[in-house]
């Protein structure tokens, strides 16, 4: 890999050990992926949930660092500022309502610790998986280094920004160094569509977009699906589409002909290539996708979860409208997960009050899937979960063995009010 003089100096350790380790990590990763250089980025979206996570991004590998090692590392890290605009994915719990999520004092302590470190390093601690709607909005052609499969696919496909599918370590190193390996979706030739998805059924409800994404992810795998005969999605719909594509697959980009900036026509989307396959999303395929996400869906519901990926302010408003004046069933919880900036606005406008009067919780900063998998905390009863998110539906089934109802938002809310499906 060709490095600039400055990058070479960092690699040799002339700017300190932490930057040296970050550069070593990026150079090894980039070389393995076939990159010939590092390119400047102006935006990073990274991932960590505790000081322990951050410390373990760096050597020594394969050891459990002691509390003292972690604290010492973080002190050194705080002497460095991130080089570019950097936001961060959801943490383990709600910074305010952590008790409602079953977090222990020690998890809360860890949360405060990681928030402090992030602040000192200059990271915009938005703790959300939808940075692209508020805090970190790349423009067309902008090179980024993002983690979070549902976010990075949105940045590439809806905004025309350029990011690869980066693991948390890579986006963190990039945030510190302001560069990323130049391969994959940073290059024009790798942004062409590969698989044609012909949509031959109604796509109306939010959950339909999840079902379509699941179908496309199965078809295209790690490649780039191109949708035709599909109407322009709203931001909320596109968010569900991208999140679901990455459940069975690993695509970092899709094209919707007439919507994706680089796909004004089908010819432009494929860039002269022939589709590797054509897949028709018809009513039978749609039914099959819904069946894959539902599992013993009928019966008492313990938790209704909305906001995967995080709910937008508009979604919070719509949910509050549907909920107004209702009451959540006694033995059922309704959690709506969002970014804390969205919750703050919802509180100011009054949506939060409407939601909470029903017995539902408007939560922020967290993620059900990472939280109860990685942290020792008391999780709510998740025997049967209802959700409008396909990613969440398959996630809770896999991680917690939950029975799942997956369907439209209104039916999920009805399940919360009636206590079952």
């Amino acid at each position: 890999m060709q490095l600039t003089m400055e990058q070479e100096e960092i690699l040799q350790g002339k700017r300190g050990e932490i930057l040296q380790q970050a550069m070593t990590g990026l150079v090894q990763y980039g070389t393995a992926m076939g990159a010939e250089e590092l390119i400047a980025i102006s935006s990073a979206h990274t991932f960590f949930m505790s000081p322990k996570d951050v410390a373990h991004y760096f050597p020594p590998r394969r050891v459990q660092l002691s509390e003292r090692n972690i604290a010492e590392f973080c002190e050194k890290l705080c002497e460095i500022q991130v080089k570019v605009k950097t936001t961060v994915n959801p943490g383990p719990a709600d910074f305010e309502k952590w008790r409602q999520m079953g977090a222990t004092e020690s998890i809360h302590h860890s949360l405060r610790g990681v928030a402090e470190i992030s602040k000192r390093c200059g990271i915009l601690t938005n703790w959300t998986c939808i940075p692209y709607l508020e805090d970190n909005i790349p423009v067309i052609g902008e090179h980024c280094s993002w983690s979070e499969s549902s976010a990075l696919i949105y940045a590439n496909s809806m905004l025309g920004a350029r990011t690869n599918r980066n693991g948390g370590e890579a986006s963190f190193f990039s945030a510190l160094l302001g560069v990323t390996p130049n391969y994959g979706l940073h290059l024009d030739e790798n942004r062409k569509g590969t698989h044609l998805i012909d949509v031959q059924c109604e796509i109306e409800k939010l959950s339909d977009w999840g079902a379509l994404g699941y179908f496309a992810g199965e078809a295209a795998g790690a490649d780039i699906p191109v949708f035709i005969n599909l109407r322009r999605p709203t931001a909320e719909e596109a968010k569900q589409l991208g999140a679901a594509i990455n459940v069975p697959g690993g695509a970092a980009m899709f094209h919707i002909v007439g919507v994706t900036p680089e796909a004004k026509t089908m010819e432009a989307a494929f860039g002269g290539n022939l589709p590797q396959g054509t897949y028709v999303f018809d009513p039978a395929a749609k039914k099959k996708a819904y069946e894959a996400a539902n599992h013993e869906s009928k019966g008492k519901v313990d938790l209704v979860f909305l906001g995967c990926p995080h709910a937008t302010l508009y979604e919070v408003k719509e949910i509050s409208r549907m909920l107004k004046g209702q009451h959540i069933a006694k033995d059922t919880k309704l959690w709506i997960m969002t970014a804390h900036s969205v919750r703050a606005t919802a509180e100011r406008i009054g949506y939060a009050e409407i939601i909470e009067e029903t017995g539902a919780e408007l939560l922020a900063d967290g993620c059900l899937l990472t939280y109860y998998v990685y942290f020792d905390s008391k999780r709510p009863n998740l025997e049967r979960v209802a959700t409008n998110s396909l990613k969440q539906a398959l996630g809770v089934r896999r991680s917690f063995g939950s029975k799942v109802f997956f369907g439209e938002t209104q039916r999920c809310i009805q399940a919360a009010i009636e206590g079952g499906v």
Partner: protein, 149 residues
């Protein structure tokens, strides 16, 4: 030698290591798919459910799911359950990042005959630096390298 096959491979992450084959015909997710402390795959993993993954050679097309793939691999390694080596059929950023950071040899194999031939429990040596994979089929009675599941 009977029962030994050698396949060409492309180096992605350097090194050489051996272990029993762990084969996933489908893309492999990690977050939420495994008990990292025990070092076994979890429910919903079909044939891999309950199978221990430490010190084995993981053979799978590419990754799927969460960008926590490499972080999840790191956790498994910290619990002492690092895989020996990995073989993919498609270049994958999560797997590459995880392997380069953890010094796990990773190769890419384009020859479909490799994936048709290799079976769970075969003793596989991945030599990324030489660009080669050696597969030794174990005899039924020879239990030395047979997986413990």
């Amino acid at each position: 030698m009977e029962g030994v096959r050698v396949f060409k491979a492309k180096k992605i992450s350097p090194g050489k290591a051996s272990g029993p084959a762990l084969v996933s015909p489908g893309r492999l997710g990690l977050r939420g798919f495994a008990d990292l402390e025990k070092g076994t795959f979890g429910g919903g993993m079909g044939d891999l459910e309950g199978v221990s993954f430490g010190k084995k050679v993981w053979i799978f097309p590419s990754s799927k799911g969460s960008t926590m793939w490499s972080m999840t691999l790191d956790l498994a390694c910290r619990f002492g359950n690092a895989p020996a080596a990995m073989v993919n059929s498609k270049l994958d950023p999560f797997v590459t990042l995880g392997c380069t950071l953890q010094n796990i040899p990773l190769v890419l194999v384009e020859d479909e005959r490799f994936f048709e031939y290799v079976k769970k429990g075969d003793l596989v040596t991945v030599d990324a630096d030489q660009g080669e994979i050696r597969v030794v089929r174990q005899q039924e009675k020879d239990s030395v390298f047979r997986p413990q599941e």
